[in-house]
């Protein structure tokens, strides 16, 4: 793949990362608000929401490297009735606008909690629709390795997996910033991390296992498919076998590390700086695994016909 082709993994992975992060963040927010009050959770979610916005912007900029004429990219949004690409662009832009609004509200307007909550959930829905549209684009009869609902499921699972680990990283970063700023509510932030990391790690584990099972199903399906499907399988388990293996090694090492760190943290009943390194490394490994998975997704497809 060249840069032009790498633009697709960059865009899809970053979009799924952004949507998944917002979902995990809003679930964490709901939990923390009930337990620690709105004032604190509004502060805690500020930086993560900004990070989601930056991710979406980078993803959209990255997607333009895939286009021959980026200046005309908006024309692709004109066929909403018939094109999943147009719908993807529509939902992505809508998601971006909602995230921009949400970020502005989070950083500039105190209060308005209900509006922020609604905007967050609206963003999650739009983001989810964007991922759905994005995955539907690949359901092409000419690409038998892609043309399956499993592609949709795979994309959604990636969003969930990346979201769970990314929120962990963002919460640790936010904690560090509060430590540096000598914030009075650092102890409460630690409690939030302590309680949310357990279920975030649980989500990561479940989605990782689901990913593995999904890939097994895909392998069986490709094996039973036509010649192009079997060619794709040969590429996956032949030329790209090292990457295929490395992907799952990285994935389960990452979620394993994340789970272990969350477990130790929960048992020790204390948070210190040392939690950051395992969480960063776990997220890095999971991200590498998912980018490799997406690379394999693009690299192993075989087109039938013209």
């Amino acid at each position: 793949m060249n840069v032009r082709e790498w633009a697709l993994p960059v865009y899809t992975i970053l979009m799924q990362l952004a949507v998944g992060t917002l979902l995990s963040l809003w679930l964490t927010r709901a939990f923390a608000t009930r337990r620690y009050g709105r004032s604190l959770t509004e502060h805690v979610t500020r930086i993560p929401v900004l990070a989601v916005l930056i991710t979406v912007i980078v993803a959209i900029i990255g997607s333009h490297f895939h286009l021959s004429r980026p200046i005309l990219s908006m024309l692709a949004a004109l066929n909403l009735r018939s094109s999943w690409l147009s719908r993807e662009i529509f939902f992505t832009i809508s998601f971006l606008l909602v995230i921009i609004s949400l970020t502005c509200l989070q950083w500039l307007v105190p209060g308005l909690d209900r509006l922020k909550t609604v905007l967050g959930w609206l963003g999650i829905v739009l983001g989810g629709l964007s991922i759905y549209s994005m995955s539907k684009i690949y359901l092409l009869p000419t690409h038998s390795s892609w043309n399956s609902p499993l592609t949709v499921v795979s994309f959604l699972l990636t969003a969930l997996l990346l979201g769970a680990t990314a929120v962990a990283v963002l919460l640790v970063m936010e904690l560090k910033i509060s430590e540096v700023a000598d914030d009075a509510e650092t102890a409460v932030r630690r409690q939030i991390i302590q309680h949310t990391f357990v279920w975030l790690a649980g989500v990561a584990w479940v989605t990782a296992v689901a990913h593995l099972l999904l890939n097994l199903v895909i392998i069986v399906r490709l094996n039973q498919g036509d010649i192009s499907a079997q060619t794709s399988l040969m590429l996956m388990l032949g030329l790209y076998q090292p990457l295929f293996g490395m992907r799952y090694i990285a994935l389960f090492t990452g979620v394993g590390w994340f789970g272990l760190a969350a477990f130790v943290l929960y048992r020790q009943r204390k948070v210190n700086y040392e939690i950051s390194n395992p969480i960063y490394l776990a997220c890095l490994l999971v991200l590498i695994a998912e980018i490799m998975g997406r690379f394999l997704f693009y690299a192993t497809h075989v087109r039938v016909g013209i």
Partner: protein
């Protein structure tokens, strides 16, 4: 070219050797702790470079394969060692700014993409040693050298801030050398059919990811043929190995030189620390001496005050002494003592001392300063480091124009009752310490003791007056009153005898009356003499005794002899002198009344021991009729004399035989020379 390869490897080997030689220095420099990684990198990279040389020039295919494998292992390994060294230099030499803790979190996404991209390049048809070489440089050498360069540049700024310009210059040079190495070792890579090398070095080229098929496009892409090995050769006329060799030599030279300068600086710092320690020790010693001197001064002052009190000196003198000396010892410009007036609940200044004089206050001068009153009525000692609220230091220093800048005050309590306050003030200088307050409290205790002693002394004087009045009354009752009563009876007898005309009897009665009057007259004169002698002690004891004996002889017609065998001072305590006179008077009264003596001799002598006066001896001997004690009981007069002698630590012995006169020997202890000297100092 082979020579350049050789020197290229040799330069990195030298780096490793120099770094490992520096390890032999046993010290705790933080930079030196990172050197093992640099040494290992130098050796590993040198080996890799020489293997490269063998592979390029003259290796056969079989050994070429082995060399290739060894090189593929050594290259990432050396890169990893450099990365660890760079991380250590960046993070361990000095603490990073806090914001850098966020960098790992921010770099996760780009790092993940780069690593994944790197991983995917290993499954392209190009030879595996090419991606190993390229990614070792991009992912290991480049960040390792870059971090080391930044680390040394941070050291440059830090040393510059500390004023070590020589070290700072070397750190700058080392940092730049590492950045140069980052460029030539980490960023310039061999040509490769994938990015980023391809995008740096070639026109836009698209490769099929799994067939390796190359498709040329017409689209321009900027950075063509930029950081290629050939491009370096073309642009500089020298191969990249030469520049890498140069970077290694620069790094070696500057790191070694830097370590040497670090040693020099550390020695300089050690010397400075040593000097600082010596200075601190000297200051501590001087402070210790000063504290000791202060403690001695205070001890001496407190002993002097106690001696004043013990010697029953005048209370006003003692208080003035306390105030004057206390002011000097506490390095103050003013010290005041105020007591509560018994009649009105006013605090009145009793005495004060300033820089010029110390003085008692005769009239009533009210103290109305709120801080002093608060100290007194709250019974709480306080330091007042500054005037808060403004005006609170007004009326603190009496008879002084200059205002106080700092003050301290303590309360005076007698039997848990506030009786006054003692305070000090400074016009300038630092505030009073807690130690000053403790010393001031000690002085306050002495003031209270002096006042208490003064009260007791006046009570004792009252008791003495009452006792003396009783004695005079007793004497008048036993002597003059008896005689007057007798004379009254005799006058009635004379009246009766006159009425009856008995001239002879009348004459006899008149003779008896004359004798009685003469006895009464003698008693009265003796009493007057006794009173006068006791009160005239200021003349000196010896002359007072001499004068008294002369008067006694004239009044009683008893011959008196006085033998003074003491050449110098008597060395008696004041109280002992008084008791000695009283004993002598009582003894002479007994001689006059009962001894029927013609002559009485008084001798005063001293018992010396080791040139020190041990005791004073007074011997009163008469030639009278003598007496015998009845049933071992002493008369009232003798008992009184015994008690007087015992009261001042002496003893009294009476020896008498009927017809052989009486001898009374009194011994009173003398004060030592040292005690006398101190007593005289106190009085001075």
């Amino acid at each position: 070219m082979i020579a350049i390869y050789l020197l290229y490897g040799l330069a990195f080997f030298s780096l490793g050797l120099a770094a490992s030689l520096q390890l032999r220095h046993d010290d705790d420099l933080r930079l030196r702790k990172q050197l093992p990684w640099l040494a290992a990198f130098g050796f590993a990279y040198a080996a890799s470079a020489w293997l490269d040389m063998f592979q390029t020039y003259g290796a056969n295919p079989a050994s070429g394969q082995i060399i290739n494998i060894a090189r593929m292992i050594l290259q990432p390994m050396s890169g990893l060692l450099l990365l660890v060294f760079g991380w250590g230099v960046l993070t361990k030499l000095s603490p990073l700014p806090k914001w850098t803790y966020l960098l790992p979190g921010l770099l996760i996404v780009p790092t993940a993409f780069v690593i994944t991209y790197a991983a995917t390049t290993f499954v392209t048809p190009s030879p595996i040693e090419i991606p190993i070489d390229i990614w070792s440089r991009y992912l290991l050498y480049l960040p390792g050298s870059f971090m080391a360069g930044i680390g040394f540049l941070r050291q440059w700024r830090q040393q510059k801030g500390l004023g070590y310009s020589d070290v700072a210059g070397l750190m700058l040079a080392t940092g730049l050398a590492f950045l140069f190495e980052a460029f030539v070792v980490g960023l310039v890579v061999p040509a490769a059919p994938y990015g980023p090398a391809s995008y740096y070095n070639y026109n836009r080229t698209v490769y099929n990811a799994f067939t390796g098929e190359q498709i040329e496009t017409e689209e321009p892409f900027g950075l063509t043929n930029w950081l290629d090995y050939d491009r370096v050769l073309e642009a500089t006329g020298l191969p990249i190995q030469f520049w890498r060799m140069l970077s290694a030599l620069a790094v070696t030279a500057f790191v070694v030189k830097g370590l040497a300068v670090f040693d020099t600086v550390r020695d300089r710092q050690m010397r400075a620390l040593q000097q600082e320690r010596d200075r601190a020790q000297r200051l501590a010693f001087e402070a210790q001496l000063a504290a000791r001197q202060t403690a001695e001064n205070w001890t001496e002052a407190l002993i002097n005050i106690s001696r004043h009190i013990a010697e029953l000196n005048d209370v006003d003198d003692i208080l003035l002494h306390i105030v004057d000396n206390g002011r000097k010892l506490l390095h103050s410009n003013f010290m005041g003592l105020a007591v509560l007036n018994g009649d009105a609940p006013d605090l009145e200044l009793k005495c004060y001392a300033n820089d010029d004089h110390a003085r008692m206050i005769d009239g009533a001068l009210k103290v109305e300063n709120p801080l002093i009153l608060e100290t007194l009525f709250r019974s709480k000692s306080c330091c007042f480091p500054q005037e808060d609220p403004p005006g609170s230091f007004a009326d603190l220093c009496f008879f002084v124009d200059k205002p106080a800048q700092t003050a301290a005050a303590v309360h005076l309590d007698l039997d848990n009752r506030p009786i006054g306050a003692l305070w000090i003030a400074r016009h300038e200088g630092g505030p009073y310490s807690e130690t000053d307050l403790i010393w001031l409290e000690c002085l306050a205790d002495q003031v209270v003791i002096a006042i208490q002693h003064g009260l007791m002394t006046s009570q004792l004087q009252s008791y003495s007056i009452i006792e003396e009045r009783g004695r005079i009354a007793r004497e008048m009752h036993d002597g003059l009153a008896q005689v007057l009563g007798y004379l009254n009876l005799q006058v009635q007898t004379l009246d009766t005898l006159l009425k009856r005309g008995k001239q002879e009897a009348l004459r006899d009665e008149l003779d008896q009356m004359r004798r009685a009057i003469q006895v009464a007259h003698a008693d009265v004169r003796e009493n007057i003499l006794s009173l006068r002698t006791t009160l005239a002690s200021e003349k000196g004891l010896i002359s007072a005794i001499d004068e008294y004996l002369n008067e006694f002889g004239i009044q009683t017609h008893i011959e008196t002899q006085f033998h003074n065998e003491v050449a110098g001072p008597l060395n008696l305590a004041s109280l002992a002198e008084v008791q000695l006179v009283c004993i002598l008077q009582e003894a002479l009264t007994n001689v006059r009344k009962h001894a029927q003596a013609r002559c009485v001799r008084v001798r005063i002598a001293q018992k010396l021991s080791l040139n020190q006066c041990e005791y004073l001896l007074m011997d009163v001997t008469d030639d009278g009729i003598g007496f015998v004690e009845k049933n071992g009981k002493r008369s009232f007069g003798l008992q009184t004399m015994h008690e007087r002698a015992l009261a001042v630590g002496g003893e009294l012995v009476v020896q008498s035989m009927p017809g052989s006169g009486t001898s009374l020997i009194c011994r009173l202890p003398c004060l030592s020379e040292e005690k006398l000297r101190k007593q005289n100092l106190v009085f001075q």
